[in-house]
């Protein structure tokens, strides 16, 4: 957990090359101290959540939320797991991400390839139209999407979410991927074509393998966005058996109005996979975000 480690310890996973060499002197120490205090403050909501989740409710109420726990327990987690229906919501969210992310990345990469490397008519019109999707709020589409899904019998099914999720993921994915593909030299594609490779072979055997960093970045960001999506899930899913984590969490919040420790455990259960994934993959996320937006 990142929560209590505010001490200046370097994480091995995040060994960065671009940082300046180990600073010396008082200025560096003072600045480090100031930033560590701010960081501690910044992370305190999560730290409090962890502390609260592992103490009994009576201890929390008796000693107040800011005290160090007098007693530890894991019971909050098992209570929250059952009442929050997490076994179901986890399965639904995971299934959704497992279908949506690979499909979304593949079709976005195909479109990105056409835009970056093939001679396509109306290319700029297509690009403009697709990138415009970045500005469009999800909620302008919900009434028509709701009607479409109802007439297709796809409401209250996580499969009904896949179409809208794919559509709203496409603009960002295409933006990042096409700008990455553009940097691949034309000469190697040309060489392959001279050897008789068609566009599809070029795409699958050259473009995709050369673009693994960009594909991974986009896939991670897309997985986070899919895992976190709320509005479509709120509107299209109604039975508990089909809810995703964000919608499930909202119901759960109501049921635990007076059980502060159980609520903390439940919130923690919902965010732990994202926190772990982020901590492990942060180098990609950071690289992808900055490359995608600064250069793209």
């Amino acid at each position: 957990m990142t929560v209590t480690a505010q001490a200046p310890v370097d994480l091995p996973i995040a060994a960065t090359r671009s940082d300046s060499p180990a600073p010396k002197g008082r200025r560096g120490l003072v600045m480090t101290f100031v930033l560590a205090v701010i960081a501690l403050f910044w992370i305190s909501p999560l730290a409090l959540l962890v502390i609260t989740a592992v103490r009994p409710l009576s201890d929390f109420i008796g000693n107040g939320p800011l005290s160090w726990p007098a007693d530890f327990t894991w019971k909050n987690f098992s209570d929250a797991w059952g009442i929050g229906n997490f076994a179901t919501t986890y399965r639904n969210s995971a299934l959704l991400a497992l279908i949506k992310v690979p499909v979304g990345v593949l079709i976005s990469a195909m479109l990105g390839f056409a835009l970056a490397k093939l001679r396509m008519r109306f290319r700029r019109t297509v690009m403009f139209t697709v990138f415009l999707g970045l500005t469009i709020p999800i909620y302008i589409t919900i009434v028509p999407v709701f009607i479409m899904m109802r007439s297709a019998g796809a409401t209250d099914s996580i499969f009904g979410l896949i179409g809208p999720y794919l559509a709203f993921g496409i603009p960002f994915e295409v933006l990042v991927l096409q700008s990455f593909f553009r940097q691949i030299p034309d000469e190697i594609i040309e060489a392959a074509k001279v050897d008789g490779a068609g566009d599809w072979r070029v795409f699958f055997t050259m473009i995709l393998p050369l673009s693994v960093p960009a594909l991974v970045t986009v896939a991670i960001l897309d997985a986070v966005a899919t895992w976190n999506e709320f509005l479509f899930a709120l509107i299209l899913l109604n039975s508990d058996a089909h809810k995703t984590i964000p919608v499930g969490l909202l119901n759960f919040q109501g049921q635990f109005a007076n059980n502060n420790t159980g609520l903390a455990a439940g919130i923690l259960i919902a965010v732990v996979p994202i926190l772990i994934a982020y901590t492990l993959l942060q180098r990609w996320i950071v690289g992808g975000l900055t490359a995608g937006s600064l250069k793209g």
């Binding site: 200046p8 370097d10 560590a36 909501p45 800011l66 690009m127 970045l134 469009i136 909620y139 600064l294």
Partner: protein
């Protein structure tokens, strides 16, 4: 087009006219079916009196739009949207820039500091709403407990439960969530500024403050542009955070266009009117986003 050889020789020769479309069509089909088409049909629904349930409805022209300025909730929602937009752009951008400058200097443990400041940005919005709802709890929340602990009992209050504080209280987690992105972007941009610029400025006798205004800030212009454009696009769309934390209340004190649309469509059965609200906010969001979209399209061509 046969005459234009110049820019991309490799793409000129092979692949029939329709071959690129085979690559483009799957994504374009999904995009049109689930984004473009629904967005356009919302334009139509906004011109009707449809309730969202019945099989029939009537075309009413621009009536829904004329009703908007007379709806007191719309008036306060627009105000709230504006306050929200200004604050949730300005504060995270400034804090993000300051953090980036600090992290770009001589500091120990940069990776972990960066990790901590960016962490809120990856959490599910609803869980951020839950965390802060829990911190704001009037009786057992950490915020009031902290105020009581340091002797400021008088300041402890129902942050989310009263008109005067609710909107500001919802903005705090939004700021917490949104500071990480500008920080990362500025950090990357700062690392791209050549050291010689600062050395030259030092030789010319520029103070640290002058260096900041005359070297750092101008060099960060592309990053400023991206941060502001993306935050603007994002801030206008606000829905989740408010829905999950206050449901637009108390009263209409945290109502924004997004939530008010939702209530009209799904609670008051005024789908036509609700859609008109969505159309208005979309037009504004698209209009402010167009310069960014154009810059992305132009750069790439």
């Amino acid at each position: 087009m046969a005459g234009t050889v110049a820019v991309k020789p490799s793409t000129v020769k092979r692949g029939g006219r329709w071959s690129p479309w085979l690559f483009a069509i799957p994504a374009l089909a999904v995009y049109v079916a689930f984004l473009v088409y629904p967005a356009l049909s919302s334009l139509w629904f906004s011109l009707t009196n449809w309730d969202g349930l019945s099989a029939t409805y009537k075309f009413v022209g621009l009536d829904n739009y004329f009703k908007l300025p007379h709806d007191p909730v719309v008036v306060s929602a627009v105000q709230n949207n504006l306050i929200w937009t200004v604050v949730t752009i300005a504060v995270p951008t400034v804090i993000g820039l300051l953090l980036a400058i600090a992290l770009n200097g001589k500091v120990h443990g940069k990776p972990i500091l960066r990790l901590i400041f960016y962490t809120p940005a990856v959490l599910p919005l609803v869980s951020i709403a839950s965390i802060w709802g829990w911190l704001y709890n009037p009786q057992y929340g950490a915020i009031n407990s902290f105020l009581r602990m340091i002797g400021l009992d008088g300041l402890a209050q129902a942050w989310l439960g009263q008109d005067s504080t609710a909107l500001w209280a919802v903005m705090v987690p939004a700021i917490w969530l949104r500071t990480g992105f500008p920080m990362l972007l500025y950090l990357a941009a700062l690392q791209g500024i050549p050291n010689e610029l600062y050395e030259a400025a030092t030789v010319d006798g520029a103070t640290k403050w002058q260096q900041f205004w005359h070297v750092t800030m101008p060099s960060l212009r592309p990053a400023h542009y991206i941060v502001l454009a993306l935050s603007l696009i994002d801030s206008f769309k606000v829905f989740d955070m408010i829905y999950a934390m206050t449901y637009g209340g108390p009263g209409t004190s945290t109502q924004v266009m997004g939530t008010w649309m939702y209530f009209n469509v799904f609670q008051y059965y005024q789908a036509g009117y609700g859609t008109a609200i969505a159309v208005v906010i979309t037009l504004v969001a698209v209009a402010v986003g167009i310069p960014y979209v154009r810059s992305q399209t132009r750069e790439a061509s």
